[in-house]
Symmetry: C2
Subunit: 327 residues, 2 copies
């Protein structure tokens, strides 16, 4: 069973996804030579002369074989008594980031990171062709070379990859951000993220690094230890519209912050989510896209799961200072 159900009180969608366990793979389906083990590629950057769905690629995007969202069956919105549900309609693709089975972002050439970002942009643009999609989300879990794989994660593929998901609703956090952005816009006639950037650049207390186009900093009310945001310094709603020079600059910023985080937390998983404007009639010029990063250091003990109230044991000023000092 795989379906979306709406929490009746909070009116938020939850995926109930009880697909059969993926089991453990003998050979890596993401390595060159195993292209037949995945569905055909939806986007690829490859050597001239190399064949579609064969080796010779640098970055390859394919539909996820165990998708959280799928196109079959359409939206299928329906009631179950007082409750609302729909099919897990959407798209779920995997970006295979490199032909190398073991290669972290800090180890990659800048050009390779640029290719990954190009893949993100191109698929974001293509997927919005289906006007039933309201949001595209890009996420990545990054494993340092010393990461300890706990048994509950054994089924995950080690080969570096990220996820692109196109969904038929706007996830709770983006929806809340947009509400905040619009309220602020109405009151101040300015973008709240632009104001945050100005204040952070002035204060310099929580800045980690700055490139031509991007600011990397620890947000004032960080929910998690070492929470880090990477944000374009000028107002920019839509990640997919990045220019070539912005892509180059962003790949530098990302390589730098991943290098710092990996050095600081050799054993931690680093999780990333890219927040960008919703699509179609929900497209918001007022939104300011950004990346949120989190080093998953320990199982949080707090009660944030039941209250939405977060307790963070590392002040963002301290987090920024630690990460700033790592070269």
């Amino acid at each position: 069973m795989s379906e979306l159900r709406r929490e009746p009180v909070l009116r938020r969608w939850v995926a109930i996804s009880t697909s059969p366990s993926k089991g453990k793979k003998e050979t890596c389906p993401f390595c060159p030579g195993s292209e037949g083990a995945t569905p055909p590629e939806t986007f690829v950057l490859r050597e001239t002369g190399s064949r579609e769905n064969g080796p010779g690629w640098w970055v390859r995007v394919v539909p996820n074989q165990y998708p959280l969202f799928r196109l079959e069956g359409g939206l299928g919105k329906r009631a179950e008594g007082m409750y609302d549900m729909m099919n897990n309609f959407g798209a779920h693709e995997v970006v295979i980031e490199t032909p190398e089975h073991q290669q972290t972002w800090p180890e990659m050439e800048l050009g390779q990171l640029e290719r990954i970002l190009q893949a993100y942009c191109q698929r974001s643009l293509s997927l919005r062709g289906d006007n039933r999609f309201r949001q595209i989300l890009i996420t990545k879990h990054h494993w340092g070379p010393k990461h300890h794989w706990d048994p509950t994660l054994e089924h995950l593929l080690h080969h570096p990859h990220s996820h692109i998901v196109a969904m038929p609703f706007i996830p709770a956090r983006i929806e809340d951000e947009i509400r905040g952005v619009l309220e602020y816009q109405q009151r101040k006639e300015r973008c709240i993220y632009c104001d945050i950037i100005s204040q952070e650049l002035r204060a310099q207390k929580r800045v980690i690094l700055e490139t031509d186009h991007f600011l990397t900093f620890a947000p004032y009310a960080s929910r998690y230890p070492y929470e880090t945001w990477v944000i374009p310094k000028s107002h920019f709603p839509d990640f997919a519209m990045l220019s070539g020079s912005q892509v180059t600059d962003l790949s530098q910023a990302l390589k730098a912050i991943y290098t710092k985080m990996q050095k600081a937390f050799e054993e931690a998983m680093i999780s990333m989510v890219l927040h960008t404007t919703p699509l179609q009639e929900f497209y918001r010029e007022e939104y300011h896209w950004h990346i949120e990063l989190r080093a998953r250091l320990a199982r949080p003990m707090g009660f944030e799961w039941g209250t939405g109230f977060f307790i963070n044991y590392v002040a963002p000023e301290e987090a920024a200072s630690v990460l700033r000092d790592i070269q």
Copy 2:
């Protein structure tokens, strides 16, 4: 440093709490005979003739020695540039649930569970005397006897205890629930939780157990595997106003669900948060108090931390069926 900071976009309070590490205790400060190791009790149920802050108690409530919230300094609301902050003003007490150093809720006599619930109620009533408090939250982490203590949790006290927190703001999730409750009330002139209870009792697909006054069930859009709610079957906004017979009935319901969960997940930590109406001018007759429980089975891999979108790999119908069958 310990302060509350408001996320500027989402307008939600986050605690930045960088208190010095608690270290590991040689002797348990919660065991009888060590009463001097805690601040003086704010509430106690004890044998007749036994002395205040001495042994002979059954349940004892004391201020937390390492409080997340404290009364000193008042609210101290102030700006930091465009950001809002305040002191971590509030109260943080610990309910020492039993004189026994190792005793789980399934092992306790019903009378002992009743005493714990009485302590929750009494402190909830006393603390609302301070009209700066907007919310009281009660939480508990429950460790089964076979729980594997991972090293990041070593500093926690094993002696059974729960937390009572009085805070000067309404936490995000309760605020969102109240918004949902009021919207539904306006549309239907009914309580949404009462409607959920009716539907669940009719459908019987997600019911785990039923006592005279309480329903225990797996909610339709459970965010977590084996998420479970315990809710009064009749409309009731304020946990602290429970009658004696309701306390007796609730202690039975809680003992039963904790027994089932502990049998199902011998090694899991079970976390509980009690949701009740906010206080003072935010008191809401329309609210319907309830308890939310979660078995913490594995580190969630999802991207819910960055999106607010949850993926649950166990259907609530399956969760309810598993828990129902355990005697």
